[in-house]
Symmetry: C2
Subunit: 371 residues, 2 copies
Amino acid sequence: ASSFSFSDHSHRRFNPLTGSWVLCSPHRSKRPWLGQVEEVSNEQLPQHDPQCYLCPGNTRATGARNRSYSGTYVFSNDYAALCVGQPECTTDALESVAGSGASDELFRVVSAHGECKVICLSPRHDLTMPELSTDEICQVVRAWQDVYAELSANPAIRYVQLFENKGAMMGCSNPHPHSQVWALSEVPTEPAKEIESFKAFRDRHAAVDPCACLLCSYVRTEVANVGSESANRVVLQNDSFVALVPFWAVWPLETMIVAKSHVPSIAHLDSVQVQHLAEILQGLTIRYDNVFQCSFPYSMGVHQAPTAGDPDSGCNHLHLHFYPPLLRSATVRKFQVGFEMMAECQRDLTAEQAAARLRAQSPIHYKRAQK
Amino acid sequence: ASSFSFSDHSHRRFNPLTGSWVLCSPHRSKRPWLGQVEEVSNEQLPQHDPQCYLCPGNTRATGARNRSYSGTYVFSNDYAALCVGQPECTTDALESVAGSGASDELFRVVSAHGECKVICLSPRHDLTMPELSTDEICQVVRAWQDVYAELSANPAIRYVQLFENKGAMMGCSNPHPHSQVWALSEVPTEPAKEIESFKAFRDRHAAVDPCACLLCSYVRTEVANVGSESANRVVLQNDSFVALVPFWAVWPLETMIVAKSHVPSIAHLDSVQVQHLAEILQGLTIRYDNVFQCSFPYSMGVHQAPTAGDPDSGCNHLHLHFYPPLLRSATVRKFQVGFEMMAECQRDLTAEQAAARLRAQSPIHYKRAQK
Ligand SMILES: O=P(O)(O)O[C@H]1O[C@H](CO)[C@@H](O)[C@H](O)[C@H]1O
Ligand SMILES: O=P(O)(O)O[C@H]1O[C@H](CO)[C@@H](O)[C@H](O)[C@H]1O
C-alpha cells in the first residue's frame, strides 16, 4: 500500500479562526473544463473617465459632486446598506411579516444601522493597488486608519468592516479602484466567529500564558517553517507583517496578511508599521497580477478589533484576508457552488502548492517589466 | 418619526437551521450597476452533442464509453473529489506539511474518502429539469433514491450530498443537464450545522413534544401564513411538499422545498410522495425560468439524514435548497463578495417580495407558451 501524500489524496483541513473545515482534493484540477470562461481583465482604462461616479470633479449618481481630489478620497456611500437614524423594529412590524402564530425562535429579526463609506485609492481611474507607489499605498492605509478612528468614536457603531472588491468578477460595481467600509451597530457573523475563537484559545492557554493569541502562535510557526521544503506557506514578509497562504485556505490562491506582533486594529499601527503594511500590500498584489499577467480579481477584507470600549477588543489580532477566484488561467476561475454551498468548501490544490506558485512570481509588476 | 418598515429599513434575520444571520437592505437594488454583465443563457443546444462527455453512446474524457441510455444515467465521476481505498493520513505525513513545531490545535487534518457519482437527468443534451415531463422527473427522483440507498449500504459512507449546478454561471463544467452525488466518510460542515440545530430544537421542546421538529414547526407556520398579505412566503404546494422563500433567505430568489410531514430522507418517500416531489420540482423550476425568460441558473442541494445507522438520522427533515444568483435581469446577478465573505451575507430585497415575484409567474414554461 502506498503512503498518504498531501498532493495526491483527499483530506479535510480545519480552520481554527472560524471553526469550519475545507475539503482538499488536489487531483481535481485535471478534469476537463467546458464551463464558464471569463473575460480577461486587462482592458486599458482611461486615467480619468468623465462618466465615472468616482473620478475627481465628476457628479455622482445621486447628484453630489466629487472634490477635485489628488490623493485618496473618502465619501459616504450614496446607496448605503446601513444608515443611521432609522426606526427600531417593533413587535407589530415583526408580527406583520412573521405571521401571527409565529414562534420567536424561528422568526428572529433585529434592526441594523450603521454607515457605509467609499475610499477611492487615488484619483487615477486606471491604477489598482499593485500599480500605485508605496507612498500612495501608505496614504490609503492612513485613510483606512482615519475612517476606523472616526467611526469608532460613534458609540452606536460596534464594528468597522473594511473591504475591497477588485474586478468585475468579484462583483465590483464600478471599475475606479476603491475600498469600502460598512460599519455596523453589531459585530457581524464572520468577525464574531473569529472573536469567539480568539477568546477560546486565550482561555485554553491562560494558565501558561495570560496573553496567548491564536494568530501570534500561528504566525510564529509559519515564520519558523520558511526554511522547510514541504511546509513553507509564506509568500513574503518584512519586520512587521507576513503574507502567507493559510494552512486552511479555501480559494485557490487565498492569502492572509498578518501582523507579526499582537496588534488589535489598524488604529494601533505606528508610522513604521503603516509603511510595512503598504510594502507588503504592494508586494503581494504585484505577485497576484503577475500569476496570469492580468489585473487579478479578489475580495480583500480587514479583520480587527470591534470599536473602542468593546470588551472583546484586546484579544483580536489584525489580519487581512484575500479571496481570489482565479484557478487555471486569467479566464478560468474556481466556483464555490453546489457541493461547497450545500456541504463544505472545497479546493483543488494544496495550500503549499499555492504558496510555492506565488513565491515564484517576480516582485516587479508585469506591465513595468514589459516596458 | 416614521415607523419601521421591512421593505424600507435595514435589518438582520436569523437562520435557525444554520445559526447565522443575513443582512437585508431592501433599498440597495436602486444603485447604478456598472459591474459584470453575464451572457444570457438561452443558446439553443443540440439534442445530442457528439463532443459531450455525458451524451448517450459517447466516449468520456477518461476513455470509458456511456451506454446508449434512454432514461436517467448514473455513473462514477471520472474526476472524483473523494475516492475509496486511499491511505490514511499519518502523523509523519502531517508533520511534513505542518512543520515540526506545529500545535495540533492549529494544524488539524483528517483524510477524507467517499464516492462521487454523476446522474444525467435524461439522454437529451438540451433539456433542463423545467423542460422534462413529470414522468421524466419522477425517474430522476427514483434515481436519487437508488443512489442514496446504494451508498447508504456502504458502512464507510456517512453522508450522501446530492446537488445540481445548473448553468455556467453556477460553475457547471458541462452543459448536459446532470445532478451529482458526493458521498463522504464524515458529515460535512453545512449538514452538520443543521443536525445540531434539529437536535437542539428537539431537546428544547422535548418536555412538551418528544418528536418536536424545527422544520415541521416552520412549515406549519408558513402554510398557515398563505392567506396573509404581508407574511406569505409560499410559492406553491401540494399534499406532500411546499416550495417557499425561507424567512432567512440569502440569494435573491432563494427557495426551499420542504416535506410537509416528517420525512428524514429521500429513501423514505413512497410512490405518491415521489410523484408530488417531481410535480413541485417541475412547478418551481418552470417559474424560475419564467422570471427572466431564460434558463435560470442555480445550485440545488438535498439535505437529509446521514446514512442508516447514524444516531442522528431520525431528527432530520428532508428539504431541498435552491440558491439562484440572478437579481435584476437574465444578465445581472447578485454577488456575495467583499462584505458578504468577510462579514455577513447580504440581500437587496425581502423574502416576502421574492415570494410574491415567484408566485406571479405563469405555471407554463415560457418556451411552450411561445409556441
Ligand atoms: O463538478 P463540476 O461540474 O466539474 O464542477 C463544479 O461543481 C463542483 C462541485 O460543486 C465544484 O467544486 C466546481 O468548482 C464546479 O466548477
Ligand atoms: O458595493 P458595490 O460595489 O456596489 O457592490 C458589490 O459589493 C457589495 C458588498 O460586498 C455586494 O453586496 C454587492 O453584491 C457587490 O456587487
